[in-house]
């Protein structure tokens, strides 16, 4: 089940180095909760049109908002700020290191709203803030399996405990591919509807191999053997060889793995004697890449055999003679 996220405290947003927050006023209310994934510029909200200003959304002031406030007569400004701040917004960020006037700060304090000042220009401030909030509020889900980057494709290797997921992954690392997460991978849906997987911070770079214990792939193989996060392209499920089950012999069936409303290609790989799984997975990825470029071996095979059949004399024709 995807986890529900209620909100993020303003204090956590303040700590983000990419936002370059240089000062803060009304810090007493730094625990206010931002509960909406998109920042908002008040724009017309300052003129009194408050309809689309939503509680829970972090507000961003740029030169426009600040210029407008400066242009107002004192009494108008006071009324406008009172209307605006009475919405009990979680917090305001002002861009470009613009000075917050004392009457704004006082009015914000009356309605327990902190004001943060950032060095960034408004556009990069909004885009960085949006990117962070989007990921923070994105639907997240944990899956059991090893997530690897194989030839640029994100591959999740799933299967029952003890079937050899980690051992297969270790062979793939040894072949020069990258580990993202062993055993448990956390996924979130990004703004392009791609499923991005990463490791939980506690087990990042770690792998459990029975007999060896917990090993750190970064220490053993170096930084080129690990990756922070990866878009998921393919799921391979390792399973015990079942003589009764029908496995894909031609390569024509495409199975799908459904998750968070997406469908990803799924390959079931039976584990059996003499089957080198790391090589099979590697080739499965090459095959996916070939299919992506329009190559379908079994169709070509059909075409070839159809040609051969055409060359054979038609048995019906023989009879009619």
């Amino acid at each position: 089940m995807p986890k529900k996220i209620k909100g993020i405290q303003l204090g956590q947003i303040k700590e983000l180095s990419q936002l370059k927050i240089v000062s803060i006023f009304n810090e007493k209310w730094i625990h206010n909760l931002v509960s909406h994934p998109r920042p908002q510029r008040p724009g017309l909200g300052l003129t009194g049109y408050l309809k689309h200003l939503q509680a829970g959304r972090i507000q961003v002031f740029g030169k426009t908002e600040v210029g407008y406030l400066h242009n107002l007569k004192d009494e108008d400004r006071s009324r406008c700020l009172k209307n605006y701040f009475s919405l009990k917004l979680p917090g305001i960020i002002i861009s470009e290191n613009i000075k917050a006037e004392s009457d704004w700060i006082a009015m914000a304090a009356r309605y327990s709203t902190p004001i943060l000042i950032s060095e960034l220009h408004t556009a990069p401030l909004i885009s960085r803030l949006s990117a962070f909030l989007y990921q923070y509020f994105a639907k997240k889900i944990k899956m059991n399996g090893v997530l690897m980057d194989i030839m640029g494709q994100g591959v999740l290797i799933t299967g029952d405990s003890g079937i050899g997921k980690s051992e297969t992954a270790l062979e793939l690392v040894n072949k020069g591919y990258q580990l993202i997460a062993d055993d448990v991978a956390e996924f979130y849906l990004d703004s392009n509807d791609d499923l991005i997987g990463r490791a939980n911070e506690i087990i990042k770079n770690l792998m459990e191999v029975r007999g060896l214990g917990i090993i750190n792939i970064n220490d053993i193989f170096g930084t080129s053997a690990v990756l922070e996060e990866k878009k998921l392209n393919l799921v391979t499920n390792l399973e015990k060889w079942d003589a009764k089950k029908k496995y894909d012999r031609l390569g024509e069936d495409t199975q799908y793995f459904k998750i968070l409303g997406l469908e990803l290609p799924l390959i079931s790989l039976p584990v059996g004697p003499g089957r080198n799984l790391s090589t099979i997975i590697e080739v499965a990825v090459r095959n996916i890449l070939a299919k992506k470029s329009g190559k379908k071996t079994y169709l070509e095979l059909n075409k070839e055999s159809a040609l051969q059949q055409d060359e054979l004399p038609d048995p019906q024709a023989e009879v009619s003679k």
Binding site: K142, N144, S161, D183, V184, I214
Partner: protein
């Protein structure tokens, strides 16, 4: 499927050594066994999975088992928690 709420009694919580003992024990059963904590659900047979929970002393977790030997599995795992993972005498 059966479930049981379990309190963590040992001082260090579900740290590496305790998690190793837990996953080792879970692997002895054929039932699927899960630990649920803070809306996170992990496979009890996965050592790294257990570590991601970062559950500590006093926390309540839910043990969930389904399959043939679910009763025995849950009893044995609950006993391991109650014995404080044999860490403290």
């Amino acid at each position: 499927m059966i479930e049981k709420t379990q309190v963590i009694h040992n001082k260090l919580g579900l740290h590496a050594r305790a998690a190793a003992k837990l996953s080792h024990l879970a692997n002895m059963f054929t039932a699927d066994i899960f630990l649920i904590y803070n809306e996170d659900k992990v496979n009890a047979k996965s050592l790294l999975g257990i570590l991601t929970l970062a559950a500590s002393v006093g926390n309540e977790i839910i043990l969930q088992a389904s399959g043939g030997d679910e009763q025995e599995a849950l009893a044995a795992i609950s006993d391991l928690f109650n014995r404080k993972f044999d860490e403290e005498s």
